[in-house]
Amino acid sequence: MKEATHIKPHEMGLLQLWFAALFHPSRAFEEFKRKPAPQWGLYATLLRALFIVLIWYLPLYLLGIIPSPPSYLTFVPTESYYAASLIIFPLYNLAIWLVFSALVYVILRLGGWKSDIDQILNIGGVAGLIFQPVISLLDWTGVVLGWHNLPVVLGITHLAIDLWVIVWTAKGYNKILGLPTWLGAGLTLLVTIVNVPLSNALPEGIVGG
């Protein structure tokens, strides 16, 4: 019997892929393997930055809100922090994506594990994008409903989502790079821990409003 080799496997659309990534990660990772790398990681990183700028920094800037904690950078006055973030945040986001992907790669190589920088860039970039709508939805719900102790509530919800991201990324490293899940989780945890003080000191930090 002749095989139907001309039939291409079904390719998911962006929205399908997003839902699959959130709720059926294994299926999504099969799809991600076939995507151009590191292009998808870059597009995801740029898209995430654009999303955050449009849904968070731009509205805060237009509403004339001034962050409650002062700016940590002397050349960015607190009064114009959100305006400056419209430009600084995408650059910062891009730099963080590159540094953390390279860090994961180097640790894996030094440990003698299999490593592929293009796939690491793709997994890291896509992980940032996939969870951002969930984070932004929670942030704005909290702001609009005026939740009591907003920074604490947001801290807890962000922590919960961070754990979700760690598990998701570890699974990605396992499916795409063949790494043990504990190693993927450990690396992602390390990156998350390094990122917390950095993102608190630099643009991502001042989100309290």
Binding site: S71, L98, Y105, I117, A201
Partner: protein, 192 residues
């Protein structure tokens, strides 16, 4: 050639030195190069400046780090900055090459950028220590001299991209220039 021979021969003949980099452990040599540059720099340049009670030429850009304490803090964070900027420069070069449809080997890129950062550094150390000793460690002199050192580093990295990644001269110089502009931008914010 061992690591030190590759490093020191790069001062005189960077083409021969970078050719030797092929087949060496990567990215281990890149990381070793970066640490060999930044740990001694913090000990033989930044630490003496702190001991002499000197203050940076330009004020701190970080509100949580006073200008008067900058050098003592920098003794500790300079190596971390060095490794971070090495990762950023290398990853940027790799992604730029991949987007341009050029072949790239990230291990080699990490080694090229690391050795590019290390090769000129004995001259930089000798210069900085002499300037400190002669009390000439001052803004115009240091700004001009360090710009020249940065151009030297840029040219070594460009040579590495040409010899080891088989890039054309123009793209190699272009990428080396861009990643060194990145270095300068971050160094201007964090390093004094």
């Amino acid at each position: 050639m061992n690591f030190v021979q590759v490093w020191l021969s790069g001062l005189i003949n960077p083409i021969r030195s970078l050719d030797q980099l092929k087949g060496k452990p990567a990215p281990q040599w890149g990381l070793l190069a970066v640490l060999t540059r930044f740990i001694p720099t913090s000990l033989i340049v930044t630490f003496p400046l702190f001991l002499l009670g000197r203050e940076p030429f330009s004020p701190s850009y970080l509100t949580f780090l006073a200008t008067s304490n900058y050098y003592v803090a920098q003794v500790f964070f300079l190596p971390i900055f060095g490794v971070t900027i090495w990762l950023l420069m290398s990853a940027f070069a790799h992604v730029a090459l991949r987007l341009a449809g050029k072949g790239s080997d990230f291990d080699l890129v990490l080694n090229i950028v690391g050795m590019g950062m290390l090769i000129p550094i004995p001259v930089v150390w000798a210069w900085d220590v002499t300037m400190i000793a002669l009390n000439l460690y001052q803004l115009p002199v240091m700004a001009v001299s360090h710009t020249l050192f940065q151009l030297w580093e840029t040219s070594i990295e460009a040579v590495g991209f040409v010899r080891l990644l088989r890039l054309g001269i123009v793209p190699a110089i272009g990428i080396a220039l861009i990643i060194n502009v990145l270095y300068i931008a971050f160094a201007m914010i964090f390093i004094r």
